[in-house]
Amino acid sequence: MGAHHHPPHHHPHAHGFLLRLPVGFKLAAALGLILTVVLMPRGQWPALLVVMALLLALIFASRISWWFLLKRMLLLEPLVLGVAGLMLLQPDGLARCALAMAKANLCLLVTLLLSQTTPATGMLRVLQWLRVPWLFITTLTLMHRYLFVLADEAERMRRARASRTFTPQHRFQWQALATVVGQLFVRASERAERIYDAMCARGWK
């Protein structure tokens, strides 16, 4: 089972030309685009619209599923709302809030587009080439690798729990969920120790 069940983001959904572009170029372009959006002065709505149109065209060209993007955006929207909501407290709050939301969502779209058209291994290689500290890269690499193992483990635990869940009462379900989350944490940290041992066994210093 382990080889087949994975979270949907395990490799890019796109098949279009963005996937074939060099990773370094994409990373630089994404960073540039984000900076442009963030630094755009107030009142430049037409420019933001241009960026938006560009992104939509890129999404169309790379054939990412719109539905998938929408779901991802919605998942991250609470963060955007949280930050933009604070703007409401300032004078001229509504306009500031709208601008912050537009900017944050555009940046979000850029990162989603980048992550969906770039394999994680390629991204890590570029970071290495950019001389990002090795500890940071190692952490990212391990995270990318074990996210799948953890997701599999969580799914196995969920199924096992579901097979023994006879009462549809929500209270019990929440209780069970809390146990599973705790258990997952314990298992993850124990696994981390075993991984470290396995690395040491092959000479890690």
Partner: protein
């Protein structure tokens, strides 16, 4: 000189559980020894000691010697170069994004050049029958392929002693057969902790039985596994293959 020499080894876990009580045995170079025993008998704990992963602090009078070198805090690196440990759960061991990177991890730690590393990776993958898997993602492999990739990662370090923790558990019959055939071709000294008693009969001339952290028997595999009383007393059973070898 002995490949492995363990004398009076004891270990107690932090919670007080006594995992190993005074273990002593020797393994000659080139020997293939099965380490048998029920769950929780201390097999995995013993294997971790061979690589200096346990105890956290070396104390007491117990000693682990690999090719005459006594394991101590100062020579872990040298011991780990000589002893290759294949872990029970392949997901613990395969931590790199691709197969080639993972197999290259050990040789990189040894400080070899790019060319030497590439050659080692190629050779190790060929040894386990995974040539052509270099760029495959480790988390997309089947369980059997993961096991082979783990073994390749250890073989690439060219250890003199190969220590395997339940190498055939969770494998389908074909995977088990292939893995056994592969192990047989490897010249290193082997210590294999396993519940796969048929593998013990096929691969290992000698077996050591561990129970409650103690060695309860050490001898010819056929003699030990053929002793039904001994087997049952320690949570094991006489493998079917022996019924065919010695029909009653």
């Amino acid at each position: 000189m002995n490949a492995i020499e363990i004398t009076n080894l004891k270990y107690r876990y932090a919670d007080g559980t006594e995992a190993l009580r005074s273990i002593s045995f020797r393994v000659l170079p080139g020997e293939c020894v099965a380490l048998l025993g029920p769950n929780g008998s201390g097999k995995s704990t013993l294997l971790l000691h061979l690589n200096g992963l346990l105890p956290e602090k070396i104390n007491g009078d117990g000693a682990v010697k690999i090719y005459g070198e006594t394991l101590a805090a100062g020579n872990l690196e040298s011991i780990r170069r000589q002893v290759g440990l294949v872990f029970q759960d392949p997901d613990d061991q395969l931590f790199c994004p691709t197969v080639a990177e993972d197999v290259a991890f050990g040789p990189q730690q040894l400080g070899l050049t790019e060319n030497e590393i590439a050659a080692r990776v190629k050779k190790a993958l060929a040894q386990v029958g995974l040539s052509g898997f270099e760029n495959r993602a480790t988390h997309h492999l089947s369980h059997g392929e993961k096991r082979r990739a783990c073994l390749a990662g250890v073989l690439a370090c060219e250890p003199k002693v190969l220590v395997l923790d339940e190498p055939t558990s969770d494998l389908d019959p074909r995977g088990r057969r292939e893995f056994k055939t592969m192990l047989r071709t490897l010249p290193a000294t082997k210590l294999i902790a396993t519940h796969d008693l048929e593998m013990a009969v096929e691969l290992c001339a000698r077996s050591i039985i561990l129970d409650h952290g103690e060695i309860v028997a050490d001898g010819r595999t056929l003699d030990l596994l053929g002793d039904e009383k001994l087997m049952l007393a320690h949570g094991l059973e006489m493998p079917h293959i022996l019924h065919h070898l010695h029909p009653h």
